[in-house]
């Protein structure tokens, strides 16, 4: 038996600033069979709580990480191997495991944010992978590219992934002439032009989904496939989230608003709230969000239906929804004719965070098909 058949489970790195994480609990027992994408154990950082998922199949042979203990990124938390591998070999593997030294060069390559000067202004993005088709991740209203921290690396295994801060969001330009769906779509086109991306698979969450659809309608040749996650633009109903998000001034009023995004409210950590609050307080953001909210979701009704413009020219489309989405009803999932639909239980509007492994697998399969 070769040690290469032993696969380590390590403390993941979710986002640029993550240095360590706390094991909060194991979801599987020793000896459990494992398939790719299965959630194995739960980890919490100051920003977010999430599940570590299997990247290889096998059997969970050893739980190394102790609950309620903090481990650095890349520390050994467990071992996956086939049932046939002897215990002694597992013991030896654990005993001799050396945490890979932080490779500065690699880290810079992998995690660095980049900036592109587009006609709309400077846009921030992150890039992962390098093989395969282009894939662009588009976040929702008030979000940023870090929303995809559980997805970007996994998707980067089979595609060249770009995650974009939309204009007015994250660390992209805040001074946007006319914040609406048309200008955000134009910004996406400008971004693709600037980076020389002739076409791409678009994965859009919420508002980002509406942008992806509009892009597909306006420039069908540039969109190889659509993945719409709890997407706007598929119906008129929308909850009070957008209004509440815009109105929230401090941590106390913002936290309950952010909690409506998740089926599991405990996902909203103090750091998540702080980060959103810091964003909201940047000069220009408040005015931008108010204008964008009015243009796209004014009067608590969705104002744009790019799905309608797609009739007859829609690229292969996958619609994913969290069953407990409290922002846009999951009933909208069926509103794009011809699309593959997957509604996931136990998840809310941020289904791609709450059920990252499942969503990542769905997207990968969808792209492979398209």
């Amino acid at each position: 038996m070769s040690a290469s058949r032993i696969v380590p489970i390590v403390m993941p790195k979710w986002g640029l600033s993550m240095k360590e994480g706390k094991v909060t609990g194991w979801l599987l027992e020793d000896g459990s069979p494992i398939n790719i994408g299965d959630a194995i154990l739960e980890v919490e950082t100051d920003k977010i709580a999430g599940a570590v998922e299997a990247s290889e199949p096998g059997v969970l042979r050893r739980r190394v990480g102790t609950p309620d203990t903090v481990y650095p990124v890349k520390a050994l938390l467990g071992v996956i191997a086939e049932a046939a591998v002897p215990d002694a070999e597992i013991d030896a593997y654990v005993a001799s495991y050396v945490m890979p030294a932080a490779d500065e060069g690699e880290e810079d390559q992998a995690a660095k944010y980049e900036f592109a000067d587009t006609p709309t202004g400077t846009l921030r993005y992150a890039r992962r992978g390098g093989a395969g088709d282009n894939l662009i991740l588009l976040h929702g209203f008030g979000g940023d590219l870090d929303n995809f921290l559980f997805n970007i690396d996994a998707l980067g295994e089979t595609a060249t992934v770009y995650a974009l801060d939309l204009p007015g969001h994250g660390q992209s330009i805040k001074n946007v002439a006319k914040p609406d769906l048309a200008s955000l779509t134009a910004a996406l086109a400008g971004f693709m032009d600037k980076l020389g991306l002739k076409d791409a698979h678009l994965v859009g969450h919420s508002l980002g989904g509406a942008i992806a659809m509009r892009m597909a309608a306006e420039a069908p040749g540039r969109v190889k496939s659509l993945t719409l996650i709890c997407s706007a633009g598929l119906g008129s109903e929308i909850g009070s989230y957008v209004d509440d998000f815009v109105a929230a001034q401090g941590r106390k009023d913002l936290k309950p608003v952010l909690e409506t995004l998740f089926a599991d409210k405990s996902q909203v950590s103090r750091q998540l709230v702080d980060d959103v609050l810091k964003y909201k307080r940047l000069d220009g953001v408040d005015a931008f969000l108010k204008a964008l909210a009015q243009a796209v979701f004014g009067g608590r009704k969705q104002q744009d239906f790019p799905a309608a413009q797609l009739a007859g020219k829609a690229p292969p489309a996958l619609v994913i929804w969290g069953r407990e989405d409290a922002v846009i009803p999951a009933a909208h999932a069926g509103n794009l004719p011809g699309a593959t639909v997957k509604v996931i239980d136990g998840a809310g509007h941020m289904v791609f965070m709450e059920k990252a492994g499942e969503v990542n697998a769905l997207i990968k399969a969808h792209i492979a098909r398209s």
């Binding site: 600033s17 900036f115 660390q171 106390k252 103090r270 220009g284």
Partner: protein, 339 residues
């Protein structure tokens, strides 16, 4: 884009960005550029600790070195503010208020009220506060309570670089007189600070640590020490077993009573930490309010951890004793938990 900046850099950036945004923003103070009238370099100092370095050349004519004459230039800054400017005056050490206090508390603080609401005085007075700099009794005091006492003034004391930038920008945009207290031992402390401008609203305390057993209220340098104490006391620490909620007041006037009271209602215990002297301090103020508002929630006596009722001593061995330590804070928590 967020970069790691020191508090010194964050304050400099806030001044720079506000000066670029609003031509009415001017800086005044002793040696804030430095080198005026000599044969050597202009902007030789950029303030005694280099906080304003570089702004003199970036904003020509708007960084005014003043004579050593606090009454005159603080008063002139106040007068200019009443006439539509937005001066940021640097008093160097808050201890120097002794020679210009009338202009601050009888003039700037009173205009709005005394003139029936028809005047506003958007001035910021920046000054260094706090001990630990081996600067002895006249350059080390934490005089925040004196200013907090006076209606009409706002008092700000950031604990980190991120807050310093956002609170200073708010101070400059604010239409009331603001005393902006910069702890000299925090100038080199680092935090992630967005490159963009942002304002942090006044009267919003920052809960920097959640905990259910005891509330620790602090501001300025004491926030870090309170956090250290909380860490020592948490279950994985050597002393074991107490989870503290740490509240950084950030602004002392206005003060966020709601956050303090909400927290004590949950924890039932309170330790107030203040680098100021104990009598009529922020610590005693918070203690009194909590005693009045949360009496039924309290499970143990409120404890205050402050400097002693002495001037700040010079000898390092004495000065280190003077400043409230993490160990003293932890001991106070343990004491109130025991009852």
């Amino acid at each position: 884009m967020a970069r790691t900046l020191t508090m010194r850099q964050a304050i400099n950036e806030a001044l720079d960005q506000e000066m670029a945004r609003d031509q009415n923003v001017i800086l005044m103070g002793e040696d804030i550029a430095g080198g005026q009238g000599g044969d050597g370099e202009l902007d030789a100092w950029g303030g005694p600790l280099g906080v304003t370095k570089g702004l003199y050349h970036k904003h020509p004519g708007r960084v005014l070195d003043t004579p050593l004459s606090e009454s005159a230039f603080i008063g002139a800054a106040i007068g200019a503010a009443a006439c539509g400017m937005r001066p940021v005056a640097e008093l160097m050490f808050l201890d120097f208020m002794g020679v210009c206090f009338d202009q601050i508390f009888n003039q700037a603080a009173k205009f709005k009220y005394m003139f029936g609401g028809k005047a506003q005085t958007p001035i910021v007075i920046r000054a260094m506060v706090g001990a630990g700099f081996r600067a002895a009794a006249q350059h080390s005091q934490m005089l925040t309570p004196l200013f907090t006492h006076i209606p009409g003034l706002k008092v700000v004391c950031p604990s980190n670089a991120y807050d310093a930038k956002g609170l200073l920008i708010q101070s400059i945009r604010d239409n009331d007189p603001v005393i902006f207290c910069e702890h000299k031992n925090l100038y080199d402390s680092q935090a992630d600070v967005p490159a963009e401008s942002y304002a942090i609203p006044f009267g919003e305390a920052n809960v920097v640590r959640d905990g259910g057993d005891c509330t620790i209220v602090a501001y300025g340098l004491m926030v870090g020490r309170a956090m250290e104490a909380a860490k020592q006391l948490s279950p994985k620490g050597p002393k074991g077993g107490v989870e503290c909620e740490v509240i950084d007041l950030r602004t002392l006037s206005p003060i966020d009573w709601d956050t303090v009271i909400d927290s004590v209602e949950r924890t039932g215990r309170l330790v107030c930490v203040d680098e100021a002297n104990p009598r009529c301090s922020i610590a005693s103020d918070v203690s009194a309010m909590v005693a009045q508002e949360c009496f039924k929630a309290l499970k143990g006596p409120i404890r205050m951890v402050t400097a002693p009722h002495t001037p700040v001593p010079f000898s390092p061995v004495l000065e280190d004793l003077y400043i409230p330590s993490a160990a003293a804070i932890a001991a106070a928590v343990t004491k109130t938990m025991a009852q």
